[in-house]
């Protein structure tokens, strides 16, 4: 590496990988459209919604990771900060997907068909208006933060910018003053944007949790559900940052940019959030189980006693909490990117299952599991779309750029 303070991707995403990802996206779209056409619209919208909620929270969590890293004056994992920031690129897609939800609302939200007594809050115009504003605001704030974060790093090294990035770098660093002034200005802006982003995420994503998922069971409520929702988003973001960093390291041959020690620390952070999420989940479970009251207990009975959903619940509990906790006690598991990637993939699958369990049980009334080829294709399409937006962003700005 000639300049350790600025590491550009060694190459663009190879055409083969890009084509593969696009193929998955196309297959996902195709499967979803087919489901609408052949009379399985409920299943189609169900899996669409599961993936929308999962990947939106993860994308936002990635940007928030970067903000939290700055807030805590972190120095341990600079390369991962940009990995998280790059997830901002999925937020516009996510907003478009939210507009899509409007068209599938009849299949998704039971409160549109039954009297819940909560019409003042749960009515379609107010619901879509307020959540739409939330998504737009979070997208605007996230882009503003990422742009401010990128500017001094890009500007200071703009002379070294490879041709393919030049246009974007010029735009992001327009009206550039001298280096010191820019750094100071950026620091001042970041100092305001970071708390704004963290507070907005915690508050607004808690309320999104109530709206997007808790409202699917309109007679049930849990005060902790909002915190659990954004915490899961953040936990998922850490897992996806791990996977994307390992992929980028391999694809772009950036072994020198990501040290073993840094992966070790990231592994510890994932373990910490695994314990925290587990603690939150347990806190919610225990209070409901112990209270055993009619308005709450069906939520648990459905997920723990129903043979259709119970295995999925246990899959989630084992692989989101117990398994990572056990394997991350090993130093080697955290040090080796390969093992870290395997563990992160398993956790991600369990978080997918958690979202599936949050959506499906109260919407699906048949005696078989609503997960087949169509659901698999749609889910792979979403994951590939997420990866494509991320690699696109990383193709424009440096993957790691540290003003040392």
């Amino acid at each position: 590496m000639n300049n350790p303070s600025l590491i550009f991707p060694a190459q663009d995403l190879s055409p083969r990988i890009r084509a593969t990802l696009w193929t998955f996206v196309a297959l996902g779209v195709f499967a979803f459209i087919v489901s609408l056409l052949v009379g399985s619209a409920d299943r189609g919208w169900q899996i669409y919604y599961v993936n929308f909620v999962l990947w939106t929270a993860i994308a936002q969590g990635g940007v928030v990771f970067s903000a939290a890293y700055r807030m805590t004056n972190g120095t341990w994992g600079e390369p991962f900060r940009r990995v998280g920031e790059a997830m901002v690129s999925f937020l516009p897609v996510s907003f478009v997907l939210f507009i899509g939800v409007f068209f599938g609302r009849e299949s998704i939200y039971p409160w549109l068909h039954e009297a819940t007594g909560k019409e003042a809050w749960l009515n379609a115009p107010f619901f879509f208006a307020r959540d739409g504003v939330v998504f737009l605001y979070m997208m605007w704030l996230s882009y503003k933060y990422v742009r401010t974060s990128l500017r001094p790093e890009l500007g200071r090294f703009r002379g070294q910018t490879p041709d393919r990035f030049r246009a974007v770098v010029e735009r992001l660093t327009s009206n550039w003053k001298d280096d010191q002034q820019e750094i100071e200005a950026s620091k001042a802006k970041i100092a305001k944007l970071v708390p704004a982003l963290l507070i907005s995420f915690a508050v607004l994503y808690s309320y999104l949790g109530f709206d997007l998922l808790m409202s699917l069971e309109p007679r049930w409520s849990s005060t902790l559900y909002g915190w659990l929702f954004f915490l899961h988003g953040f936990y998922g973001a850490l897992v996806v940052i791990t996977l994307l960093a390992i992929s980028a390291r391999k694809v772009f041959k950036l072994e020198a940019g990501f040290a073993t020690k840094q992966f070790h620390d990231l592994g510890r952070l994932v373990m910490g959030f695994c314990m925290l999420s587990g603690g939150f989940y347990w806190s919610q479970y225990l209070v409901i189980w112990y209270g055993n009251i009619t308005e709450e207990i069906p939520y648990l009975v459905m997920r723990y006693r129903n043979p259709l959903w119970a295995p999925l619940t246990w899959y989630y509990i084992v692989f989101a909490f117990f398994f990572p906790l056990a394997v991350f006690l090993s130093k080697r598991a955290k040090d080796k990117p390969a093992s870290l990637a395997a563990i992160a993939s398993i956790i991600l699958s369990s978080l997918f299952v958690e979202r599936f369990l949050a959506v499906a049980p109260f919407l699906w009334h048949e005696q078989y599991l609503p997960f087949g080829v169509m659901e698999l294709a749609v889910s792979l399409g979403f994951a590939s779309g997420f990866a494509l937006t991320w690699f696109k962003f990383i193709g424009i700005v440096p993957l790691t750029a540290k003003t040392s």
């Binding site: 819940t116 507070i199 409520s221 849990s222 005060t223 915190w227 603690g279 806190s283 209070v287 112990y290």
Partner: protein, 441 residues
């Protein structure tokens, strides 16, 4: 290396052992005053034991009142130590070095104070051993499905782990004091330092044990106040049965604990002339954490209100309406103001670096956090499902003296600690000082 300190190793040893010198008249006067308050609290407890629990203001339906409020308050206070010691240690936050010893002392003494209240609350304290899980003649056996039994286990485990952490963290410093002490003090400090010589081998084991205890304490601290919160949340009383209680109690506990640490550090750094060790930067860092915890608790209050409205549960709605407009509305609004709005002043750098402002805001936080528990406990019991069963609580002189005595007891313990053991970690401060190299002189 940090920019905070411009000191050398020798000065550090001298400065930070100054606090162990013979105390002045002011110290003894304050200690005597605290002792008298403890005696007053002890007397009140004696009256309660002699005449019965009716001496306190507890009644039917408000069977849990100031004692449990104060118990939860002190357990909460005890949370700052582990946050500063263990969690910030795991996050490699350097500024903790100057303040963690006092925070750990707050933990141990907070638990020692909280531990009194279950006995005070019992009434017939002479049969307290009945709650132990030992077979006895009456065939009594604790109900292990009760969160109260979990409390006993959680708090004693936490007390054990935090005491170990406290003692372990002090060992190298006590050895320095031992080497300077004479007579009986040398023997006592020799015993406490457990033969510490500072060899490579000892340091290797020491650092490994420290990391291990830090990792063990972190989930423990979260579990303890979660379990305390479940004393309430497991029941189906409106205003108590809430899934958010565990994390929200933990955040509140840390909130009050941080406030108490700041309140103790400010006079201590002045009295012992250690302002260059416990700097304004340290206090400011603690103030920033207080902003964070204030936001968390404030957000939790708003969620509780929102879900009470959203749930469409008439009992939940009624209790929150009662809290805001009923007999204890003054306490509710005061807690919201002191706990959430007043700490928001700390966003201003000018305020969070001003000692008088910091003291005022931290006192406000302590009042707010005590009132928070009071409002949760008393309003829900005073105003549950049946209007026929409603009733109010009014504290008596006995409750009040016992609560005041508990504060005196806590501060008394802390004052004794501050004159007998090093209040700032010398070895960790030294880690942040430029090593004594030939070229640097």
């Amino acid at each position: 290396m940090t920019e905070d300190y411009n000191l050398n190793y020798t000065d550090t040893d001298i400065d930070l052992t100054q606090s162990l010198k013979a105390p002045g008249r002011g110290y003894w006067l304050l200690l005597t005053f605290l002792f008298l308050l403890i005696c007053a609290g002890g007397y009140a407890w004696g009256v309660q034991i002699a005449n019965g629990i009716g001496e306190s203001g507890k009644n039917n339906p408000v069977g849990w009142a100031m004692y449990i409020t104060t118990f939860v308050f002190w357990v909460g206070i005890a949370h700052s130590g582990t946050l500063i010691s263990a969690i910030l240690f795991l996050f490699r936050v350097k500024w903790r070095a100057a303040v963690y010893r006092s925070a750990e002392a707050v933990t141990v003494f907070g638990l020692a104070t909280a531990g009194l209240f279950p006995f005070i609350h019992l009434g017939r304290v002479w049969v307290a051993h009945w709650i132990l899980p030992i077979p006895n003649f009456g065939g009594l056996w604790p109900n292990f499905r009760s969160p109260l039994a979990w409390d006993v286990l959680a708090i004693t485990t936490y007390l054990t782990a935090s005491s170990l952490f406290f003692i372990l963290g002090m060992m190298p410093d006590i050895a320095i004091v031992r080497d300077k002490a004479r007579g009986w003090r040398k023997k006592v400090y020799g015993l406490l330092s457990m033969g510490w010589q500072g060899s490579d081998n000892q340091w290797r084991h020491y650092t490994a044990a420290y990391v291990f205890l830090a990792a063990l304490s972190t989930p423990l601290v979260i579990s303890v106040h979660s379990i305390v919160s479940w004393d309430f949340a497991m029941s189906v009383i409106p205003g108590w049965h809430s899934t958010i209680f565990a994390p929200y109690f933990v955040a509140g506990a840390i909130h009050s604990g941080l406030g108490m640490v700041v309140l103790l550090l400010i006079p201590m750094r002045k009295a012992f002339k250690i302002e260059q060790y416990i700097t304004l930067h340290h206090l400011e860092s603690l103030a920033k954490l207080i902003i964070f915890t204030a936001l968390v608790v404030g957000f939790a209050y708003s969620i509780e209100l929102f879900i009470a409205w959203y749930s469409h549960n008439p009992y939940e709605q009624a209790i929150f309406l009662y809290r805001m407009t009923g007999d204890y509305a003054w306490a509710f609004w005061l807690l919201i103001t002191t706990n959430v709005f007043v700490p928001m002043l700390l966003w201003s750098k000018k305020i969070r670096t001003s000692i008088p402002w910091l003291v005022g805001i931290c006192v406000s936080v302590e009042i707010g956090m005590w009132l928070e528990r009071f409002v949760i406990i008393v309003t829900s019991l005073a105003h549950d499902y049946l209007p026929y069963a409603w009733g109010l609580y009014k504290p008596t002189l006995i409750d009040s003296l016992i609560v005041i005595g508990s504060f005196a007891w806590f501060f008394f313990l802390f004052m004794v600690f501050s004159k007998t053991l090093p209040v700032v970690s010398m070895w960790e401060v030294k880690e942040q000082i430029e090593p004594p190299m030939k070229s640097s002189h």
